[in-house]
């Protein structure tokens, strides 16, 4: 099948705007190759830290009603060195997600991928369940600025900055990211959440608190994309609760130039990526929309 809905975002040409979100099947080159084949426009890797991380003990993911999950994987990842070996032969449209706890780590990580055929990077400023990583860094605006500059110094490839709804103002963080040189914003990450089992009277996740993803967060993601696209010049990748092609359309109308899917793959399987793309194509055909760009931000009119 042909999954073509060509788009250009931050200078990158993608075959379609449907991107696999970070942390979703994000560890193995063989899986990446499979994801390209079945329709993904691009893939974001699991967030990679300088050193390997085992993450939290299970349970690391729990379903809540209504097609949503709370996860606290704890940023388990093979570390920059090992992951650069993993993807050394990559030819597909891969973005490497970066996470760290100190400014100095980021340039070291980015350098490991200097000779790789990848599209670019996504900076994870918004992991809600690992202390001193992600979210906590994202709350320090000066640090955000410095990290982005240090990454941009190491690479000419586009850098997307992933923001979330945490302790600080998402608009402010995104504006700082833009001014520091970010090429795009990804919004949103999961939100700090919790599930307590009332029979055993304890939180289900080993880490107690995790990040809420899936259907529940879609209205929040739509709102963030809408507000971000009002005040930013750089493009936005929408993420959060996308379950159908019409959710993709809603995000794009709110102002997203591309979108990412995550939880859907747990609910409907890996083939749901291709189904979303084909659904989107039919939608465009039925509406006589020649270029998907036409609908980006149309809800602002």
């Amino acid at each position: 099948m042909d999954y073509d809905i060509p788009i250009n975002i931050a200078g990158l040409d993608l075959k379609n705007p449907v991107i696999v979100a970070s942390g979703i099947l994000g560890l193995s080159q063989s899986i990446f190759d499979r994801l390209y084949k079945i329709g993904a426009g691009a893939i974001v890797s699991k967030s990679i830290s300088l050193l390997p991380r085992e993450g939290y003990r299970n349970p690391t993911i729990v379903s809540v009603d209504n097609m949503s999950y709370i996860n606290a994987v704890g940023l388990a990842n093979p570390g920059a060195e090992s992951f650069s070996t993993e993807i050394s032969k990559n030819k597909g449209p891969l973005l490497v997600s970066l996470v760290g706890s100190e400014k100095s780590e980021f340039s070291v990580i980015v350098r490991k991928f200097r000779d790789h055929k990848i599209l670019g990077f996504e900076l994870n400023l918004s992991c809600p369940h690992v202390e001193k990583m992600g979210m906590e860094i994202g709350d320090d605006l000066k640090l955000v600025y410095d990290i982005i500059q240090s990454i941009k110094k190491e690479t000419t490839k586009p850098l997307f900055v992933k923001v979330g709804l945490g302790k600080s103002d998402i608009l402010e963080v995104a504006k700082v990211a833009e001014s520091a040189g970010a090429d795009g914003i990804t919004a949103i990450n999961t939100l700090r959440a919790m599930k307590i089992d009332i029979e055993t009277q304890c939180p289900v996740l080993e880490n107690k608190i995790g990040g809420l993803s899936g259907s529940a967060i879609k209205p929040l993601g739509i709102r963030c994309v809408y507000e971000l696209s009002k005040s930013l010049k750089i493009p936005i990748i929408g993420c959060g609760g996308i379950m159908t092609y019409s959710d993709v359309v809603e995000y794009m109308m709110a102002g997203a130039s591309a979108i990412q899917i995550g939880s859907l793959i747990g609910l409907k399987g890996i083939s749901s990526i291709g189904k979303i793309v084909m659904g989107l194509r039919s939608y465009l055909e039925a509406g006589n929309i020649n270029d998907i760009k036409e609908i980006i931000g149309i809800a602002h009119r």
């Binding site: 099947l25 193995s28 063989s30 009603d65 289900v204 609910l267």
Partner: protein, 274 residues
């Protein structure tokens, strides 16, 4: 409304069977698990401790199912220490299942340890069928064997050949179950299928033997699992996700799994040699 298998259900342990000093079967009521297909697994939550993937074991009681746990590290020991009346959480069943149809007339089961669980569930499902069943069981030593009585019991109603291999020779043939398989296949040329579950290096041998003898086979592969629903990729083997594309793979699929019997992903996702 049908129950969503992804939502965790708390169940009370209703009965326990001590299989060996380190292996226990735990029975509970859960209609979704009770109808799970042979080879499927559950994600089992031990509150405040761990969550582990465990194969579904059989129960004779309607709407009931069971799990069989070998005491090992932190999580499995916590579960092993649970008793009647305690509560555990389950979600699932997940994964595919062993294929079976009545045209398979001559079938071998080969397993060891808790790898026996899905094989026993499969045999339970198909034992009334008009096929020939050979069960090859391996263990380090006699005291580590279990489920033998269950099979002897079934064998009363219907012929089931049970072959046992122990590494120390304390019961059955001395050596590995794969030695028995090799010998068996050199004599019996009409085998339609081998089902296997157990240590991966053992299953690798079964695969090699099956290929040499041109016999079809299916193996249940284990990998480190977090989500059980195909989202985290911690369980991947080559481009397959064991939790949703497996756990059962046949010889055609295994042929493409260059990591099978060679390497696995550790908890950080680093590809590691066995």
């Amino acid at each position: 409304m049908p129950i969503d298998k992804n939502l965790m259900r708390l169940v009370k342990i209703e009965d326990v069977n001590i299989e060996t000093p380190t292996v226990k079967t735990i029975f509970f009521k859960d209609s979704l698990s009770s109808v799970s297909k042979p080879g499927q697994f559950l994600m089992v939550w031990i509150p405040r401790r761990e969550e582990l993937p465990l194969s579904v074991m059989i129960s004779d009681t309607k709407n009931h199912a069971a799990i069989t746990i070998r005491k090992n590290g932190y999580g499995s020991t916590s579960l092993f220490n649970k008793d009647i009346g305690d509560r555990i959480g389950i979600r699932g069943p997940f994964g595919n299942s062993f294929s079976f149809n009545k045209s398979l007339k001559n079938i071998i089961f080969l397993g060891g340890g808790t790898g026996l669980v899905p094989l026993v569930r499969l045999l339970y499902y198909i034992k009334e069928y008009d096929s020939k069943f050979t069960f090859i069981m391996g263990a380090k030593t006699k005291s580590e064997l279990f489920f033998t009585e269950l099979i002897y019991e079934w064998a009363k109603a219907k012929k089931i050949d049970l072959h046992i291999a122990t590494e120390d020779g304390s019961l059955g043939t001395k050596g590995y179950p794969t030695d028995i398989l090799r010998a068996f296949l050199s004599v019996h040329k009409d085998i339609d299928m081998i089902y296997t579950c157990g240590p991966e290096l053992m299953m690798k041998k079964v695969y090699d033997i099956a290929i040499i003898n041109s016999v079809r086979m299916e193996a249940s592969i284990e990998r480190y699992m977090k989500c059980g629903i195909g989202i985290c990729s911690s369980c991947c083997i080559n481009d397959k996700l064991v939790c949703v594309d497996g756990t059962i793979f046949n010889e055609t699929k295994i042929q493409k799994l260059t990591e099978f019997g060679v390497s696995y992903r550790n908890k950080s996702g680093i590809l590691t040699k066995f």
